[in-house]
C-alpha cells in the first residue's frame, strides 16, 4: 500500500491505496468525489480532466502516488458556496452541455485555459478543448460559452455580476 496525501479543493485528504490506484480512482472511490468521470480510461476522452498544480491533466493517466503532496482541483471545487463559477453559469444557461457527462472535464479544461489566457480566440479554445470529447453538442455552443464566460470574467467584479444577470435573462432564466 502507498500513503497518499493531496489537497483537494482546498482540503487536505489522505488515503492508503494499492500502488496501481490512479488519481481518478482515488478521487472517485476513496474521496467520493464522483464529479470527475471515468470515460475511456486511456487519456483520449478527457472526462476525467482535473487541474493539478494549475495544469489540466487526465486523472486516469496519473498514479495516485504521483499526486502525493500536490494541489488538485476537481469540478466539486469550481463553484463557491454562494455561486457558480462564471463558466458553469454560462454553460448551464446557454445549453452548452446536453447529457453533461463531458461537462466536468470540459469546464476544468476551460478554466485552465482562462487562468492562463483571459482573452482566447476561438482557435485557442478549440486547441485547449481538443482533449475533451463531447458526443452531444457538436462543440459550437461549448466554444461560444467559453468565449462568453471569458468576456464576463474580464470585467471588474460588480460588472461581472451584472453581465451574468443579463446573460441569464437573455437565456430566459
Amino acid at each position: 500500500m502507498t500513503d497518499v496525501t493531496i489537497t483537494v479543493n482546498g482540503s487536505v485528504r489522505s488515503a492508503s491505496v494499492p500502488p496501481e490506484t490512479t488519481l481518478l480512482k482515488l478521487l472517485r472511490d476513496y474521496f467520493q468525489l464522483t464529479g470527475t468521470k471515468l470515460g475511456c480510461d486511456v487519456g483520449d476522452c478527457g472526462a476525467c480532466t482535473v487541474i493539478v498544480d494549475g495544469m489540466a491533466v487526465n486523472a486516469c493517466l496519473m498514479l495516485a502516488a504521483q499526486a502525493d503532496g500536490r494541489q488538485v482541483l476537481t469540478i466539486e471545487g469550481l463553484a463557491t458556496k454562494d455561486r457558480l463559477h462564471p463558466l458553469q453559469k454560462v454553460f448551464e444557461e446557454s445549453g452548452a452541455l446536453q447529457c453533461g457527462f463531458c461537462g466536468p472535464g470540459m469546464l476544468l479544461s476551460a478554466k485552465a485555459l482562462l487562468d492562463d489566457n483571459p482573452d482566447p480566440s476561438s482557435h485557442d479554445i478549440r486547441d485547449a478543448l481538443a482533449g475533451n470529447l463531447c458526443r452531444c453538442t457538436g462543440y459550437s455552443k461549448v466554444v461560444e460559452a467559453v468565449q462568453d464566460a471569458a468576456r464576463i470574467m474580464r470585467k471588474p467584479q460588480t460588472e461581472e455580476a451584472r453581465q451574468l444577470e443579463m446573460h441569464g435573462q437573455r437565456h430566459g432564466r
Binding site: 478527457g46 495544469m55 493517466l61 498514479l63 479544461s109 478549440r126 482533449g131
Partner: protein, 296 residues
C-alpha cells in the same frame, strides 16, 4: 490494473540504483501517458514500477556551455511554453504542440516520447533535424551519443538494462538554425502521424543557396530516419521552389513506409514529398526573417 510494486526515485542516481536492484522486473514511469495505458492492458505487469517523475535533476530546460539542455522529464507543455525554445528552436514547439492534447502534453515527457521508440513519435524528427545528442546514465556512469543512435527499431532503443535517459542536448552550433516541423494526421487533435517531417537549413553568405540542410522523416520507416540523398541534393544548391520539390521527391524514395489501417504506403510517400517541400519552405522563410532582423 493488475497489481505491481511501486517505488519513487529521489533523483537519477537513486533511480539507477533502484533499476540495478530490481533488474529486468522494473519498469520506468515518467509522465505515464504511455505506460499507464500499457499497464491497464497487460496480464503480466512489471514487478516494480520505478517512478522517476519527482527526480529534479531530470527536469528543466536551460542553456549550457554545450547547447540547449532539455531534461528528459520536460513535458511537451513545458517545451511549448519555454521562452528559450520558442526563440531558438521553434520547430520543437511545433512538434510538442502536435502531440496528443493539453492534458496529455502536461503529463507526457520528451524523454518518455523518445524512449517509446515508436516510428510515429512526434518528438523525434525535429530533434534529429537539429542533430540532437542524448545523455544516458547507468551504473558505470554517463555517456553521450547522437539521438539517432538511440533508435534501433520499433519500440527498441540502444539502451541496455539499468540505463536511464537523462537529457537531450541541441548542440550550440545548431541553436537558432532555421527549422520547421509538420505532421499530417487524420485529425488536427489527438491523432497519430501518418507522416511527420522536420527540416533544418542554413543559407550561404549570399543567402541564395542551401548549406547543411537536414531532413528527418517519421512514421515511414522502422525508426525516425534522415533523408541523406535529399540532403546531399540540396547542399550548395540555389534555393528555388523546384529544388525543394525535387528534394521532396528524392526523400520519398528514401523511406520504407508500410500500409496499415491508417494509410497506404503510396499515400505516405506522397505525403513525404509534400511535407518535405513545406518544411523546407517554412525553414527558408524563417532563415530570411532572421536575417532581416539582424540587419535592422
Amino acid at each position: 490494473m493488475k497489481s505491481f510494486g511501486y517505488v519513487a526515485a529521489r533523483d537519477s542516481r537513486h533511480a539507477i540504483a533502484l533499476l540495478a536492484e530490481h533488474g529486468a522486473t522494473a519498469k520506468i514511469l515518467a509522465g505515464g501517458t504511455d505506460l499507464l495505458v500499457e499497464l491497464k492492458d497487460t496480464q503480466r505487469p512489471p514487478g516494480v514500477v520505478v517512478d522517476i517523475s519527482r527526480a529534479q535533476d531530470l527536469k528543466g530546460i536551460s542553456l549550457t556551455e554545450v547547447g540547449l539542455r532539455i531534461g528528459a522529464l520536460a513535458t511537451h507543455g513545458e517545451i511549448m511554453r519555454s521562452a528559450v525554445i520558442r526563440d531558438l528552436c521553434p520547430a520543437l514547439v511545433e512538434a510538442a504542440h502536435s502531440i496528443g492534447a493539453v492534458q496529455t502534453r502536461n503529463l507526457g515527457t520528451i524523454g518518455g516520447n523518445l524512449m517509446t521508440c515508436v516510428p510515429s513519435m512526434d518528438s523525434g524528427p525535429a530533434l534529429i533535424a537539429l542533430e540532437a545528442q542524448v545523455t544516458v546514465a547507468g551504473p558505470d556512469g554517463q555517456r553521450r551519443m547522437p539521438l539517432s543512435d538511440l533508435f534501433v527499431g520499433p519500440r527498441r532503443t540502444s539502451l541496455v538494462g539499468g540505463e536511464l535517459l537523462v537529457e537531450i542536448v541541441i548542440p550550440k552550433p545548431n541553436l537558432g538554425k532555421p527549422a520547421a516541423f509538420q505532421k499530417f494526421g487524420l485529425r488536427k487533435g489527438q491523432a497519430l502521424a501518418l507522416v511527420n517531417v522536420a527540416a533544418s537549413l542554413w543559407l550561404d553568405r549570399d543567402r541564395t543557396a542551401f548549406v547543411a540542410p537536414r531532413i528527418a522523416l517519421g512514421a515511414v520507416a522502422p525508426t525516425v530516419i534522415r533523408a541523406p540523398r535529399a540532403e546531399a541534393f540540396l547542399d550548395g544548391r540555389a534555393v528555388t521552389p523546384e529544388a525543394m520539390d525535387e528534394a521532396g521527391r528524392i526523400a520519398a524514395t528514401e523511406a520504407k513506409p508500410i500500409s496499415d489501417f491508417r494509410a497506404s504506403a503510396d499515400y505516405r510517400r506522397d505525403l513525404i514529398a509534400v511535407l518535405v517541400k513545406r518544411t523546407l519552405a517554412t525553414a527558408y522563410e524563417r532563415a530570411t526573417a532572421t536575417s532581416k532582423e539582424r540587419v535592422s
